[in-house]
Symmetry: C2
Subunit: 205 residues, 2 copies
């Protein structure tokens, strides 16, 4: 059990699955996104990730951490090959299907078909969106950075296509994620819906 | 209004504050963390950020995106000077104070004092934790990466100290963020609490 203060040496000594579960949840709530890519073997690949991070609004840039393991590598290879990918939000209506895309399917099996989600294409853009998703981003790869310390890849993309379901954006640009029924993730496998607490004013001294 | 599909050119044409609000919320729910650093002018600096991302469990690495603007730069300078910083989770009990740390206080004013949060030190570690926080990470800087495309800094740190309030971690390593009353953020200023939906099994074909 972990109650109170521990050190890095304590963390290293934890049982491997316990450590993976706890350290994967130690940063707080995470976004849940399906990454869609064109794939030579299966036609279209879909992978759940929780490592998308805002990098800037002008130009609109989004970062994505990809681990150096075999499932994620399909996504990484496809992004490098085609220079584009999609980021699709996951809702309470289909989060079990989204989670299931993490299974290690054979190369020729598309996760879209395996889990029952609908590939959707936009003319002139070479990666599949998720039809069921209320918020979808079409990304162009602009930069790739290697994290030396653990071999992780940090993918930087620009938003070149964006779909938002009608009725979700206010006149101020607020996007109503709760109304969209978008979920959040803790750790590797615990899903949450969100309750609006409040909007705070711009902070001044 | 944004209803349906738009392109990158449409996004560039949006009014600046509208674009900032919407693009800051376009990645989904974000973690809310207070970054604590030792500061030459104020003693201890505290800054709210929502760009922390999991990089790996062994070694336990966490990434942090820091924008090239003036408020965040204090945090960046302090991390570079001292080689360490803290990441503290924010709860529904003190999220207004956490939000207020974003104000541009004079250099000699500590945000801890200005907003009414308690600096807490661990022997041998040169950055302040937030006393009120139920989950606190003491980070050692291990790598810094520049994102060429927009001048953003990506800070990679290793967890060397970790505090978790008693009763939050299960025997499997699940961390109960909802019980800890940890909040999530959408965009720049909209805070949410979380409802547990379910824990899903490890995905197999």
């Amino acid at each position: 059990m972990v109650d109170g203060w521990v050190t890095g040496d304590d963390i290293s000594a934890w049982e491997q699955r316990f450590r993976a579960a706890l350290i994967n949840s130690i940063t707080g709530f995470k976004p849940v996104n399906l990454i869609g890519t064109k794939d030579q073997s299966s036609g279209h690949n879909l992978a759940i990730m929780s490592s998308v991070v805002h990098l800037g609004a002008s130009p609109p840039l989004v970062g994505l951490v990809i681990r150096p393991d075999s499932v994620d590598r399909h996504t990484l290879r496809n992004i490098r090959t085609h220079g584009c990918y999609t980021i699709n939000h996951v809702t309470s209506g289909f989060y079990p299907q989204a989670h299931q895309t993490a299974a290690r399917y054979e190369d020729e099996v598309s996760e879209f078909t395996a889990v029952g989600l609908t590939p959707q294409y936009v003319e002139g853009f070479d990666a599949p969106f998720v039809g069921e998703s209320p918020i979808k981003l079409g990304m162009t790869l602009v930069e790739e950075v290697q994290i030396k310390h653990n071999g992780t890849h940090f993918i930087i993309g620009r938003i070149d296509h964006l779909y938002i379901e009608p009725g979700l954006v206010s006149e101020y640009g607020d996007l109503d994620l709760a109304r969209a029924e978008v979920v959040a993730l803790s750790g590797l496998d615990r899903y949450f819906s969100a309750n609006f607490l409040g909007k705070l004013p711009y902070a001044k001294p």
